[in-house]
């Protein structure tokens, strides 16, 4: 673990005499390796480690009794600070049903998360959700959402043919007619470099003015996380991020990277395949996990 390797380094350094600032840089290489193995973005790490080094030097870590522990503490504090304040509120629309749009790469967990989020808002906040099947590409995507809706007892709005933009737009009137006060759009997975499909998402945003736009990301993403997330953010101005599959053992460095690059809040995490497996995001817990 990082704690062990840092304490080993400092034991060896003490053996050689006094610890200098140069040693701090050596130690930072070890921290860098640990965080790269946890999938933290190489680019985000450059700035992060510079901040941590300055703090370590400023706090005169080299004079402390346990410099290894002090450095770990600084790294942990900086990680928690970077994760941001807990912000899991959903922007509710006072004038019409609240609209939430889910977007993201293929297979990230959007359709499942639509069901989980609907259930969360219903159970926790007494809302009445409408699920919208706006993925008209993937074979049986509509079936998948309908089965989820049926299992939870929530209506699913879908059309037999028709473009996602229109489906989303018409679902708002449907929700108003049927007394649903929150609408969740399930969209098809797509690459951030697929211009026509990114345009389709921008169209949906323009036509429906969502109250929340959630980027749904797989917790096991590697270095490419910053590329896809920053492109989705740039094109859609996302309002929040959901990380899925955190029930696995991926260290989740992408959470730190995407948070750092987009500056947007991580609101929820998916922790299992079943529809009750969603939790509000807790920054400190994530920092512990990334540090291993």
């Amino acid at each position: 673990t990082l704690t062990e390797s840092l304490s080993n380094i400092f034991r060896n350094l003490r053996g050689k005499g006094t610890i200098s600032e140069k040693n701090i840089h050596e130690v930072m290489r070890e921290v860098r390796t640990a965080l790269l193995e946890a999938d933290v973005s190489h680019k985000v790490l450059k700035t992060f480690l510079k901040d941590v080094t300055e703090k370590a030097i400023g706090q005169e870590v080299i004079k402390s009794i346990r410099p290894d522990q002090q450095i770990i503490q600084i790294v942990h504090e900086e990680l928690v600070h970077l994760m941001g304040e807990t912000d899991t509120k959903i922007n509710l629309n006072q004038k019409r049903p609240t609209v939430i749009m889910m977007a993201g790469l293929q297979g990230s967990g959007k359709t499942t998360t639509c069901g989980k989020l609907a259930r969360f808002l219903n159970k926790r906040q007494g809302m009445s959700p409408l699920l919208v099947a706006a993925d008209v590409q993937r074979p049986a995507a509509i079936d998948q959402l309908q089965i989820i809706g049926k299992e939870l007892g929530y209506p699913v709005y879908s059309e037999d043919g028709g473009r996602p933009q229109k489906i989303c737009r018409r679902s708002i009137a449907y929700a108003e007619e049927h007394g649903n006060n929150v609408i969740i759009f399930d969209t098809a997975g797509r690459l951030h470099i697929d211009e026509p499909l990114m345009q389709e998402l921008r169209d949906i945003v323009r036509l429906t003015a969502p109250d929340e736009i959630f980027l749904v990301c797989d917790a096991m993403l590697g270095q490419d996380a910053v590329n896809s997330a920053s492109e989705f953010n740039k094109q859609l101005e996302i309002s929040g991020i959901v990380f899925t599959k955190l029930d696995g053992d991926a260290r989740g460095g992408a959470v730190m990277s995407i948070r750092a690059i987009t500056g947007k809040p991580v609101k929820f995490v998916g922790v299992g395949e079943k529809l009750d497996k969603i939790e509000e995001f807790r920054p400190a817990g994530m920092a512990d996990r990334i540090l291993g």
Partner: protein
Amino acid sequence: RIFKGSISEERLDELEEIMLKADMGPRTAVSIVDELREAYADGEIKEMSEVRDFLGNRLVDLLAQEENELNEAEKPPTVIMVAGVNGSGKTTTIAKLAHHFKNNLGKKVLLAASDTFRAAACEQLELWANRVGVEIVKHQSGADPAAVCFDAADAAVARGMDVLIVDTAGRLHTQTNLMKELNKIRRVVEKKIPGAPHEVLLVLDATVGQNGLVQSKEFSDAIQVTGLVLAKLDGTAKGGVVVSIKKELDIPVKLIGVGEKAEDLQPFDPADFVEALLE
């Protein structure tokens, strides 16, 4: 002898950064940089301008594999089992494989819909089977996946199929009971058809980071993976974790997924892959 000075550490840092950004992981990247430094010191690399080519060749050698083809049974049916974590691209990869065997090679293909858990998993595979023009064996949702395989294996033999491809539910390698289930599915197929499964493919999402190495190890311990499919390589992720996987587990990439259509499957070419990785 000609004095050539020491290697440019700056240039090595640049190359290390390229490898890191490609998801090769810090330990693999550092060990390769060490190899470059050594090769330069030994005179194997004569000029700094040769370093990148040397690196490219080294990576190609690492990834190259004698047997890159999919294994084939001595007598049909060839059985291919497909596994991987949730959402990696298994079902779509199977559709592509089915299309290739049926429409490019004229083979008789049968699909086993052994994902009996996820909403609309069977419907998804069935739609693909119809689209591509192959047969499918499926049970009710919630049925025992091993039972589906059992029936599919019988059907493959009875109907004189050339290829049987088994789709399994996505699962995380941390779910011990589900990994046991996967092992059970493999054993059912082994018992029913001699030599089966002839190919066990682990589908990895090209966007995966270092967890790809853990996935490969755990899935291989459970069902003896014979090859990787690197899906979603049409995105911007480089999939460099496969270098560590080959280095540490000797599991080769056999196929790459480059899109969402039935035709979007290609054999793995180490030279093309390395060129894209280093750009």
